[in-house]
Symmetry: C2
Subunit: 314 residues, 2 copies
C-alpha cells in the first residue's frame, strides 16, 4: 500500500514542500507546482502547440522527432567523440566513469567548457521551448553528455532528478525541464530512456539519509535518493505502464524535472549517446540544500543564475 499525502500548505514559504531522506518510511506527496508555467490557452507565441503543452502537463514529457537535422547531429556527434577521446585518461572531476570499470559514462558542464555545447545551450529554439514551459527566462542548471557503451553499459535505476536537486542542491520548486538530444539510434535493444507517464505529479520521498560527499559515488551508482519499489509500482500503475523512448539521432525529448525515469543495461553492440541540458527558471534559483549538506560543486549544479540570451545554432 502506498500512502499519498496531501499537499503541504506553504503560505509563507517556510516549510519544505518536498521533504525526502529524513524519515524512516517512504511516502508519496502530491505535487504543489504546475508543470507548464504558461497558460495553454494563451495565444502568445511559443514553439509548442496547445496540444503539446497539455500532453507535457499530463505525461511529464514530450518527444520531438527529428528536431535536429542530419548536419547538426553529425557535428554534435563528432564533437562528442572528440570530447570522449580526450576524457579517457582525464583526471578532471567533470568526467564520470562506469561503476564497475574506468569506461567514461558522462562528462559534465559541457555548456561551459566546450564551444559547440556552449552554443547549443544558447540555441534560440531550445531557449524558446524552455521559456514557454517555465514561463520565465531560464539558465542552465546542469549539462552533460552521456555515453552508454555497447556490451557493457550498466543500468540507471529509477529516479526523479528533482528529488536530488532539491535535497542536495537546494532547488526550491519544480520549475525545471531536462532536454535530452539523442545522438545515436535508440532502440529497445540498447537500454533506452524509460519514463513513467504522469509520475511527475507525485513526489516520492525516499527513505534513508545522505552521506557526506554523496555525489562522488552517486553519479556512478546511486544508493540514496532511491525510490522504494511499492511507490514505483504504484506510479507505473497510475501511468498505465512505462514509456520507452526509441527514436533516431536528432530526436529531442523534453522531460519535467520530477518525471520518474531510468534505463536498463545495454549488452547490444551499439552505444547510446545523448546530450543532456537542464534549464531552470531564473525565478527558481538554488538556495541552501534542503538536506542540510554542503552544496555540490558548480559543475553538477550551477550557481550562476544569469538568464541565457539566445544565439543561433548549433
Amino acid at each position: 500500500m502506498v500512502s499519498v499525502m496531501n499537499k503541504v500548505a506553504d503560505p509563507d514559504g517556510a516549510a519544505d514542500l518536498y521533504p525526502s531522506r529524513n524519515a524512516g518510511k517512504p511516502s508519496v506527496i502530491g505535487r504543489a507546482d504546475p508543470a507548464v508555467y504558461t497558460d495553454p490557452e494563451d495565444a502568445s507565441p511559443g514553439p509548442l502547440t496547445r496540444r503539446q503543452l497539455l500532453d507535457y502537463e499530463n505525461q511529464g514529457f514530450l518527444v520531438l522527432d527529428a528536431f535536429f537535422g542530419p548536419d547538426d547531429v553529425r557535428a554534435l556527434q563528432e564533437e562528442l567523440n572528440r570530447l570522449w577521446a580526450g576524457a579517457a585518461d582525464s583526471g578532471e572531476e567533470t568526467v564520470i566513469r562506469e561503476p564497475d570499470s574506468e569506461v567514461v559514462r558522462s562528462i559534465f558542464a559541457v555548456h561551459e567548457g566546450n564551444a559547440m555545447f556552449r552554443q547549443l545551450a544558447r540555441d534560440r529554439r531550445l531557449i524558446a521551448l524552455a521559456e514557454q514551459l517555465l514561463g520565465s527566462r531560464v539558465y542552465i542548471h546542469q549539462s552533460r553528455v552521456n555515453y552508454k557503451s555497447g556490451f557493457a553499459g550498466k543500468e540507471f535505476y529509477w529516479h526523479s532528478d528533482f528529488e536530488t536537486w532539491h535535497v542536495e542542491d537546494g532547488m526550491p520548486r519544480m520549475r525545471a525541464v531536462s532536454f535530452s538530444i539523442a545522438l545515436s539510434q535508440n532502440t529497445p535493444a540498447n537500454g533506452p530512456l524509460m519514463l513513467i507517464p504522469g509520475s511527475h505529479k507525485h513526489y516520492v520521498a525516499c527513505p534513508g539519509e545522505t552521506p557526506e560527499d554523496h555525489h562522488k559515488m552517486s553519479l556512478r551508482r546511486q544508493e540514496y535518493g532511491v525510490p522504494d519499489r511499492a511507490s514505483l509500482a504504484w506510479l507505473a500503475e497510475q501511468g498505465g505502464g512505462i514509456s520507452v523512448s526509441t527514436g533516431a539521432p536528432g530526436t529531442l525529448t523534453l522531460f519535467e524535472c520530477n518525471t520518474m525515469h531510468g534505463s536498463n543495461s545495454n549488452i547490444s553492440p551499439n552505444p547510446r549517446s545523448n546530450v543532456f541540458l537542464v534549464y531552470n527558471s531564473v525565478e527558481n534559483a538554488l538556495t541552501a540544500p534542503f538536506g542540510g549538506m554542503k552544496p555540490r560543486p558548480g559543475y553538477i549544479a550551477s550557481r550562476d543564475f544569469t538568464a541565457l540570451s539566445p544565439l543561433n545554432g548549433p
Copy 2:
C-alpha cells in the same frame, strides 16, 4: 577484423567440428549443419508452412503469437507461481539464484519433477514442431522455468546455447531447438529476449578454458564460453541488427540451438517469466563433453535419450 574459417572436413566423425575454449584467439567458424532437417518443399504434413521453415532456416528463430490460449497460460502461470513459492527456501540444486542476491532466477528439470510441465513437454503440438524442424524423433535435453524479477533482474549476456552444450555436455551437432513460452507480457521495458538474426549460421569459438564444476557459477553468471565483442558486432552487422522478442503471454518463440541471444536487465516493476524447453534429436544424443571435462548433472543436460511420445495438453 573477424576471421571466418571454413567448415572443417569431418569424413569419419573424428575431428571436433566446433572447437571452443581451447585456443588463445576467438574465431568464427562456418556452420556445418542444416537448421531445418526436413525438406521445406516436402509436402508431408507438419505444423509449419514452407515460408515458416525458410524463415527459421534464414533467421534462426520463429515467433508464433498466441500459440497458447488464455486458459493454458493461466494454468501454467499458476503452476510456475506455486513452484516459485516453494523454491524460495529450497536447497535443491535445480534452483538457481540471481548472481547478486538469493532471488530465484531459474528452476531446472521441471519436465521431470512437475506433472504439468511433464505434460507440457509431451504436448503433441510442441513435439510435432520439434520433429518437423529436426527431422527425427526428439527428447528433452533441458527444461527450466525462468523468472526475471521486476526492479532487480540482471542481464543475461550474449551466448550460443550450443557452444555450452557442445563443450560442457557433449552435444555433437547442431540439431536441437529451444522453445520459449512467454508467461508474462514481454515489453521493451522488462528485459526481453534479444536474438541476432542469422547468427546461427556461424559458430563463435570462445577464448579461454573452462574451470572444473563451471556450471555451479555459470548458471548464475557466465564467465567462460563468452563470445568476444568483435565477433558479436560482426554477427549483428551480418544480421542487420538485433531482434527484440516482445509479445503477449502465450507467445511461443522457437530458436535454433546456435542462435546468439541474450537480454538486458529489468528495472521495470514487471517481472518476465517463461518456460524453456529444449528438444534434441534422438540422432544427436550426447557423447563425452568436447571440452574434456566431466559431464554436467542430468538436471542440466539429460542423458535419457528416449524419444518422447506425444500426449494432449497442457
